[in-house]
Amino acid sequence: MRPHFEEGGRFHSFKSVYDGFDTFLFTPTTTSTSGTHIHDAIDSKRTMIIVVLALMPCLLFGMYNVGYQNHLACGMTTFPFWHLFFYGFLAVLPKIIVSYVVGLGIEFVVAQWRKEEIQEGFLVTGILIPMICPIETPLWMIAVATAFSVIFVKEVFGGTGFNIFNVALVTRAFLFFAYPASMSGDQVFVAHDSIWGLGGNVADTFSGATPLGEVATMAGSDASMHLTAINGAELSNWDLFFGLIPGSVGETSTLCILIGAAILLLAGIASWRIVLSVFAGGAVMSLVAHLTATPTYPASFLSVEQQLCLGGFAFAAVFMATDPVTAARTNTGKYIYGFLVGVIAILIRTYNNGYPEGAMLAVLLMNAFAPLIDYCVVQCNIRRRMKRAKVNA
């Protein structure tokens, strides 16, 4: 079968596709013939698979939550588990398919054009994109945004591993700035239509803002901060932690995110330094905001644990900031990078009522600064060692 795909073969234009699927399941038969090579059990394909596995709790819970929010919005009183889950599954699946088809399609074409192997990076990006978008985002918008960020953020810089910014987050940022009406407000975070008889149709006048969106509208009110679910019931901190609240598909449940974090940290893929310092930075900034709370910026009344559980903060800390390609590489740099991501995320969220989702912008901003942080850390280290060398001499 292989000869058909080699240079001059009939299906040469599909060589990269063939290679990609061939090595996806099997180890290639070609071996190196010279030099010493060290093999590790972990290569980028396995890394990506583990990240996808770590995302599964969030994704499955997100599907269930999509169904739950829809039932809640319709005023239903019973919540049969499989109905909710299956409804969410049907609502989320098209988005996953669109994101993979568009992104992988571009990757395949570019790989063939450059005569390179297909890179695995999109396996993770493709599942992240539907998870960080509101459930009501139209499919064509996801397609346009995915194409934009794969081409302009990844391929023009040289493909997987060379991108400066996190591809999935740029997709979301593109959607956020290009189609603000579909990415924020009180209509987009709850699925509105019934699918195949499951779920119900939500009335047009229904309002289902995320807790953070709800907070942002309270400008000028006093310190009595009561977060409410979409049916008006009050939300306790445990509700925010377990995540049965409106929000983008995968980011609502802090519990599931922590399960994913445990998988990533045990497998040694995500850097615990980054995860820890993002939460530390977020906690410090929330504390500062909470101590100096003013009615002009209602989000400053949120307590530290509410800030860390709400919105995309935890998701960004575990799955976005730790992206090894766009984060800082040096150990000291990782602490600085993570801490600043945490601080800036809470800073934007609290002091700009128009951008309740600060975590996305914070990670993108720090992506741009990560090489600078690394440079400074390396230069400091060199200078310190030079000084030591002179003292000894």
């Binding site: 139209p138 918008m141 346009v144 302009f152 189609y179 579909s182």
Partner: protein, 208 residues
């Protein structure tokens, strides 16, 4: 020496091979600022053509009498005078567009393309080639402005020159204008795409 180069190449070279925006990367700020709609982009382009061509001619006429030490000041005075005239004309005959362009007509004075052409061409060439050079470079600039303005207005507002282009049934089926196209970053990306396309056709412009 200038008389030897054909007039045709003086006017055609800046259109593509030596385009002031996408090859020399000059005047980017105004490309970002005025291209959110097509109409101001065209007016801006015409204004730059006029200012560039006539300032080239004037500087070329007095090039032998300008003391070298203060040549930049003299060039600035000439350009500023022409820009004021253009600005007054626009305010008189195209008030709405002139309001949209606001300070950017005034900022033609600081447009790098003008200083570049005055220094590099008009100071050492006779008036007629200088005039052609000004028109050519102005045209090169205008073409890029029009392309960027076309793309940004089409996808950002769904209109061209203020007329609805994307049909209503698209909106009824869920199409939305791309708000990012109105913001300056997208102008930069559109310019980058033009550079990309242009260099893939002109092999000699590619970096080694």
């Amino acid at each position: 020496m200038a008389e030897k180069t054909s007039y045709k190449s003086i006017i055609l070279n800046p259109l593509s091979q030596n385009n002031p925006v996408v090859v020399q990367i000059l005047g980017i700020c105004s490309v970002l600022a005025v291209t959110a709609k097509l109409e101001p982009a065209i007016v801006m382009g015409l204004s730059v053509i006029a200012v560039l061509a006539f300032s080239n001619v004037i500087i070329s006429l007095i090039r032998n009498t300008i003391p070298t030490n203060i040549r930049i000041i003299v060039q600035l005075v000439v350009v500023a005078g022409l820009v004021v005239i253009v600005n007054q004309l626009l305010q008189a005959y195209a008030y709405n567009v002139s309001k949209q362009l606001s300070v950017f007509i005034g900022l033609i004075i600081t447009n790098c393309i003008l200083m570049g052409r005055l220094e590099a061409f008009a100071m050492s060439n006779r008036p007629w080639p200088s005039f052609l050079d000004g028109v050519g470079n102005g045209l090169g600039y205008t073409i890029i402005l029009i392309i960027v303005g076309f793309v940004r207005e089409l996808f950002g507002s769904g209109t061209l020159l203020g007329h609805q282009v994307i049909p209503q049934w698209c909106y009824d089926h869920g199409y939305q204008n791309n708000g990012l196209m109105i913001l300056p970053p997208m102008a930069l990306i559109v310019v980058a795409c033009i550079i990309w396309i242009q260099r893939s056709f002109n092999k000699d412009l590619q970096d080694k």
